[in-house]
Symmetry: C2
Subunit: 340 residues, 2 copies
DNA sequence: TTATAAAAATGAAAGCATTAAATAATCAAA
DNA sequence: TTTGATTATTTAATGCTTTCATTTTTATAA
């Protein structure tokens, strides 16, 4: 039943040449007579030769496998990033090995530690939000395997990182609220450990400062990233004596939670209370009022990080660098004072 | 810089025993003195031995890699299925190789044909919606690699398939509309080629028949699966002379499109026109009115298909079978005549 | 033209880390 | 002793890459 797949050896026998010549001809990277190469490729195509990845990996040390470590895949941002990664991995002949941490630091650590690193050329990672320890990644890097971090990047590690412009995005979002006449702007933030939480917070603070608006600690709430967290944080905010008149949420899911809570509590979102998010999740066009937000270049982040990783794999001597991709303000109804 | 990883050979030298004994001890599958095994495992743990997947795959023929062929990952259903797959693959020591077809039959075919099948033990696939040809899968199966289809399964192939109960779900959805007093029920369907489109259509028709309601061909529209298709189809429906008073959409995204269009055209969704979807995408709780739907067991489908695939890999003689997982009606506001 | 060096093309064989089949050694029971 | 069971070792095999050696071809100088 199980057909024995065609090997290089078989091609060599058919053409009456040596195995090494076939191997070289197939890889287009050594001195081989163009005529010979042509004949080899012809037979290979004809007989649908598929290289045995394992043999090749074993002999050469290059596996053509990339690991992707990611907290979730069931959300718009991450699944879009993966699309970008997959696209460039595929066109460059790399396979993707998916490692979903469920945003759980222990699981992340055990996954990395149990990883058969010999089977990977490199790793693309977005750390889980409660992982402050990153030794397991450092030792991976020390072992000589290339790692590129994206979006959720650790601060205390010297590696290539790819992010959107979180500071500028947050600054633009906050400024947009200010420009639209909101003056008492709260921020429902994410997990403190993550550097993008810090960057978005900084952008928010900077915008307030620039416009001489008050910064009040009780208007800044750290929690998780879910819609429910958004609901709880908002509830919290509107129990305060001094209530804000706008909310900048660290992401769209929390912003959605905010809108839902505000509506439930009888506020008119937009007219009374402005809301803006971050991501441009498709849900932001569905919710009412539609959600203003900062668009993140998710697909490009995936593409860019994968390209950088492949470069690192090809040349171990490239120095780490940080890439920041621009994000764009998208205005919808949740931040409009006038309309409605 | 690059540390040479620990090999079986190193362990053997340390313990002064042969390589094969170490190999067997590590795999717990041959007669090895329990004492010896204990010592081997001790050293392996101590020195953090990680097996070389490629060497192992080459020698044994088992790669512990599973390919997942999927139209998209940026949607709730598929990303949830992948979560289920990933979970069981991981606990069984399998890696996932992701192949995203972008719902494009040619791309699907070329991906499969260029696949280094030697590097996969099996394949989990959900076919792209315009792929009526499935020869590339058949030849994979003929080559002896295990394939399990899920959700979007081809009809003309004898293989294990895992689906939700599309017929019953559609029947329940339609019946629910009927019970709530809607009598002129339209169906905005998906791509004709896919068997689940057919099954959902059958469920819909069956429910109408059972309640002696009219079946009108112009109330059944086939198109794609996107929100935009939902909008267009709905627009189409309400240009007719005889207009329906309810819509059963093949999935939630189309139902969302329907609701948006209906609202735009001034209809009161629920009170005037009932809408029900299929999937239970989180968006169905966000849209207003909230969307009634049929919940699909996406995570379980991923889990179940992966488990079945692993069984097939372990025992090539298992006969193909079809698994149908139940789906459940979830009632929200879009199908309520009275409320609002 | 011939001899010789240089370059280009090819081949043989070792090696990659593991598994597995075929032996071998050990020891107890018959 | 012989037999059988248990445990361990030797050796071959997996399919490919790569180093080193060899052959063939081409260019250069005598």
């Amino acid at each position: 039943m199980k057909k024995r797949p065609l090997r290089i050896k078989d091609i060599a026998e058919i053409l009456n040449i040596s195995v090494s010549t076939v191997s070289r001809a197939l890889r287009d990277t050594y001195d081989v007579n163009p005529e010979t190469r042509k004949r080899v490729l012809e037979v290979a195509n004809q007989l649908k030769y598929k290289p045995n990845m394992h043999a090749s990996a074993l002999a050469s040390g290059n596996t053509r496998n990339i690991g992707v470590v990611i907290p979730f895949i069931t959300n718009y941002y991450f699944s879009t990033v993966i699309s970008g990664i997959q696209e460039t991995a595929y066109t460059n002949g790399y396979n993707l090995i998916l490692l979903v941490t469920n945003d759980n630091a222990e699981r992340e650590q055990s996954m990395i530690e149990n990883l058969a690193i010999t089977s990977l050329d490199g790793l693309l990672v977005s750390i889980s939000s409660n992982s402050s320890m990153v030794d397991h990644f450092q030792s991976l890097i020390d072992d000589g395997i290339s790692v590129v971090f994206f979006d959720r990047v650790p601060e205390n590690i010297d590696a290539t990182k790819v992010m959107q412009d979180d500071f500028q995005g947050a600054f633009d979002a906050t400024k947009h609220l200010i420009n639209n006449g909101y003056t008492r702007i709260a921020h429902i933030a994410g997990n403190k450990h993550l550097s993008f939480t810090q960057n978005r917070l900084s952008g928010y603070l900077e915008a307030l400062k620039k416009h001489n608006l008050p910064i009040r600690q009780e208007w800044i709430i750290y929690s998780g990233f879910s819609q429910q967290c958004g609901e709880e944080d908002t509830h919290e905010l509107f129990k305060l004596q001094e209530q804000p008149d706008a909310i900048f949420a660290v992401n769209d899911r929390k912003a959605v939670g905010a809108i839902i809570t505000l509506k439930k509590e009888g506020y008119h979102v937009g007219k009374q209370i402005g809301v803006i998010g971050f991501t441009n999740d498709p849900i932001s066009t569905i919710i009412e009022p539609s959600l203003s937000t900062i668009e993140e270049p998710a697909f490009e982040i995936g593409k860019e990080s994968c390209e950088l990783l492949i470069k690192h794999i090809a040349n171990k001597k490239i120095l780490p660098r940080e890439i920041i991709l621009p994000s764009t303000l998208i205005v919808r109804d949740s931040s409009k004072r006038e309309t409605l």
